[in-house]
Amino acid sequence: MLSLKAIDAGYDDALTLRGVSLEVERGEIVAMIGANGAGKSTTLRTICGFLRPRKGAIEFDGRTISGLTPDRIAALGLVHVPEGRRVFAELSVEENLLAAAYLVRERREVKRRLGEAMAYFPVLERRRRQAAGTLSGGEQQMLAFGRALMTGPKLLLLDEPSLGLAPLMVAEVMRSVRSFRETGVTVLLVEQNANLALQLADRGYVMETGSVRMHGSGAELLANAHVRTSYLGHTRGEGDVV
């Protein structure tokens, strides 16, 4: 469904990504893990069109999308939920959701999706008229998800959805990610919390210094010695410490 073929990309003169290739199949949850600065967010920003790849090609749903502007890519159903939630703080919860359905022409369809998003995240219904900036971090994450659902996505790029949330909210966020898949939405998930991400994901990619270091099924990566020492906080041979 989504495929990156040997992507080079970066800001200004620096090349942050070197030869990144990855595949996401329809209906999968794919996790991308790695340290800070490994290039995970840059990869997502390149996919969604903020950065133009210098080399390589990105295909989505059978067509090349590298070079398109972010709004056109979003219109194709490839929707990026950026790190830090970034809700429209001065708009109400409902207005946030409505603004996200900008591309939907039919009024009835907008209503339907609004109802759906609120059924998905009942907290949004309760906070409907409240300014989004006054929500808690977890509620804002739900709103960011709800906003993404309003666009009618086929594939969601989730950048660090659990960052800075309380453990209970983290569990809630992960439940949402799983249920996205159940409704037919494919997910590419970037997470600092490698343990969580790999448990959730069908497959995973490990990024190091701007390249894909290894990839495999979630279970394979969880068992891998390098992944365990570098990302799961284990020393070799030890049991769970988390």
């Binding site: 709004d71 970034r86 429209f88 001065e90 603004a99 900008y102």
Partner: protein, 292 residues
């Protein structure tokens, strides 16, 4: 009696300032540009309204207002499309884009002098000249209508921003353009809408001011600055603040002219600007938020 007339005058001119300030605030929020050609959009709207009246002397006031709005709206869109947008795409520093808006302003002033000459031009009477009586107090119909236009326009803008999805997306773009883009918003188009609306507000203000006083090729300079003071007074970038700031500035200016000295009328505005920047940099809205 005298006080009522004075108050009506202050509110009417306040509406003019509010409309200009709204344009400043909208453009500032969406692009971070201080659009110094806003006053010239007002002037060109005023001139356009007047010119349509010359061609069609029987035109009702509302139609003249709309002509001025359309003319300024188109001009504002042209400025954005032909000048500011190319500059942004080339990643020119913000300061230089703002300097370009000053350039646009000077260009408009000179073009207007060529087209309409350098004499102040009187508007024909747009409204009936016999005074309305409001609660027994006679008030000039002109002032009543101008207030009504101002209030209706600001109300319509609020409705548009709050009740239509395009309006909501424009607000979303102003708050986080990147994320709005991820939701499918076309930034180029949203910027054009922003400039179109800011231009239309200025054009309306131009017709309103012209019908109160006169049209003049240099009228935009001082009115633009006053609109900017009003926007700063309200808290730059806040739409509610801009509306409030304009009305308040109209009141301050009018009453200080009467009770202090009309010779210092324009100077008072500038002193006020400096005072706000020194003591209340986030404006009235900042005051409100600090309390809340």
């Amino acid at each position: 009696m005298y006080l009522a007339e004075l108050l009506a005058g202050a509110l009417a001119i306040g509406c003019v300032y509010s409309l200009v300030a709204l344009g400043f605030a909208m453009i500032m929020r969406a692009t971070s540009i201080i659009h110094f050609a806003q006053g010239e959009l007002l002037m060109l709207g005023s001139m356009s309204g007047l010119s349509t009246l010359w061609l069609l002397p029987k035109l009702p006031a509302v139609a003249v207002l709309i002509c001025g709005m359309v003319a300024s709206g188109i001009l504002a869109v042209a400025m954005e499309f032909l000048v500011y947008r190319p500059l942004r795409l080339r990643r020119v520093a913000l300061m230089n884009v703002i300097t370009a808006t000053v350039g646009m302003s000077i260009l408009c002033i000179n073009a207007a002098r060529l087209l309409w000459g350098s004499e102040p031009l009187r508007y024909p009477e747009l409204f009936s000249t016999s005074a309305y009586r409001i609660a027994g107090v006679p008030v000039s119909p002109q002032l009543v209508w101008i207030m009504a236009f101002g209030v209706v326009l600001m109300g319509l803008l609020q409705l548009f921003l709050k009740r239509t999805r395009t309006g909501l997306v424009m607000q979303a773009v102003a708050q986080d353009a990147e994320v709005a883009q991820l939701m499918g918003a076309n930034l180029t188009r949203m910027m054009l809408y922003t400039f179109a609306i800011a231009g239309m507000m200025a054009g309306a203000a131009g017709v309103m001011f012209g019908s109160l006083f006169f049209s003049f090729f240099e009228m935009g300079f001082l009115l633009g600055i006053k609109g900017f003071v009003a926007a700063t007074l309200g808290g730059l970038g806040s739409l509610a603040g801009a509306m409030l700031g304009g009305i308040l500035f109209g009141l301050i200016e009018t009453f200080s002219a009467v009770y202090v000295s009309s010779a210092y009328k324009d100077a008072i505005g500038m002193v006020l600007l400096i005072a706000i920047l020194l003591f209340l940099p986030s404006g009235l809205v900042g005051l409100w938020k600090a309390r809340g």
